[in-house]
């Protein structure tokens, strides 16, 4: 995470590839660090529940994204930043 914040300080376009690269490094590093996390297949009874999915109610999530996209300057994060609306 520290690396990403550091990368965020670059503003000019040329640093874009640098940022992407750093993010990739962060993701790969955290992936390597995750190798000993996790559960055995038969320990997934809780995680398999619909309400434990990261987006458990896609319809509500979509409606929320639409509201905040039209009322605030930020978008994206859990999904595509998107557009498709004249509201912003």
């Amino acid at each position: 995470m520290y690396v990403c914040r550091f990368a965020a300080k670059y503003k000019d376009d040329e640093s874009m590839s640098v940022k992407l690269f750093l993010v990739t490094v962060v993701v790969v590093l955290s992936l390597a660090g995750c190798a000993n996390l996790g559960v055995e297949p038969w320990q997934r009874s809780v995680l398999a529940k619909p309400e434990m999915q990261l987006i458990s109610d896609p319809l509500s999530a979509g409606l929320d994204d639409h509201i905040y996209f039209s009322k605030e300057a930020s978008s994206g994060g859990r999904g595509f930043a998107g557009g498709g609306c004249g509201c912003n």
Partner: protein, 297 residues
């Protein structure tokens, strides 16, 4: 436990392994090339089936089920696998509104479905009912506390669970097509080289030795619930072996057997059992679940 015989024979394009476990003939069809690999897979399957049998059988006295059933009302700490099955049993009890109950086994002390004609008295039933009912036990992971005198029995889940677990284990060793059949509970894995489905016979409950039909299965699982040989005849009325844990009496108008196709054997088996527990509503129940099924009235 581990030195019961296994048998391996070669068929046209696959190997057939067989052994005995959970009081059932167990068969394994493997579309692999090498005998050595077939033997390895067969050994893995048999070890797993025997492991589950010895861990969950209520007839053995050195396993978690025995420990729970003889806990004298004290809490018993269980391991992860037992806890998973208890969670599952609890959910099935909830979904079936109390009809599927792993504590109902004690009713067998008064109901003997040996083809005889002796019914227990209502008084006998009333004496045993305080020991039946999931709501009477306390399940607070990882501790299970039974009322003294209660027992649990994984008979309604164990064999199907063993089938699915065996397939999972075998699939870590091969991508080839497999069919596992533990006493009529079946699941398949992998695609056959010929792309042809497996053919499975369904037995006719009235004439157990003649296949009623052959159905083709290329993936997923099949399970059958029902046992036509276990019943009581009393005053001309046939009492099937399925007991209602809420009344202590057999389910009225229960179908003799139900076979269900689903993604896993455990799911198929539970749907078949729950269907029979619905009595005369079995067919409606199965229709509502949007599954393929075969029901013998």
């Amino acid at each position: 436990m581990n030195h019961r015989p296994v048998k391996l024979i070669a068929a046209d394009s696959y190997w057939v392994g067989s052994f005995e476990a959970m009081a059932s003939p167990c068969e394994l069809f493997m579309e692999v090339d090498e005998e050595a690999q077939a033997r390895q897979l067969l050994n893995i399957a048999a070890q797993e089936a025997w492991r589950i049998e010895s861990k969950f059988s209520r007839y053995l006295n050195d396993n978690p089920v025995h420990q729970i059933n003889n806990s004298g009302g004290h809490p018993v700490e269980v391991d992860e696998e037992v806890a998973q099955l208890l969670d599952f049993a609890q959910l099935c009890w909830q979904l079936s509104e109390g009809l599927f109950d792993i504590t109902s086994g004690v009713l067998r002390r008064i109901w003997r479905f040996d083809g005889g004609s002796q019914l227990p008295s209502q008084q006998q039933v009333e004496q045993i009912m305080p020991f039946v009912g999931w709501q009477k036990l306390t399940w607070a992971r990882p501790f299970l506390t039974l009322v003294e005198g209660m027992e649990i029995d994984f008979g309604g889940i164990g064999k199907e669970y063993a089938v699915d677990r065996t397939l999972q284990l075998l699939q870590q060793h091969t991508d080839r097509a497999l069919l596992i059949n533990y006493g009529g509970d079946i699941c398949t894995g992998g695609m056959r080289l010929s792309k042809q489905p497996w053919s499975v016979g369904i037995e006719n409950p009235s004439h157990p030795d003649t296949p009623k039909g052959v159905l083709e299965i290329s993936r997923g699982a099949l399970a059958t619930s029902g046992d036509t040989r276990r019943y009581l005849m009393h005053n001309g009325k046939r009492y099937g072996h399925l007991l209602n844990p809420k009344t202590g009496w057999p389910i009225d108008d229960a179908s003799r057997s139900a076979t269900v196709a689903a993604a896993t054997c455990t799911e198929a088996g539970l749907l078949a059992s729950l269907a029979l527990l619905q009595g005369s509503e079995a067919e409606t129940f199965l229709q509502n679940q949007d599954v393929q099924y075969w029901l013998t009235p």
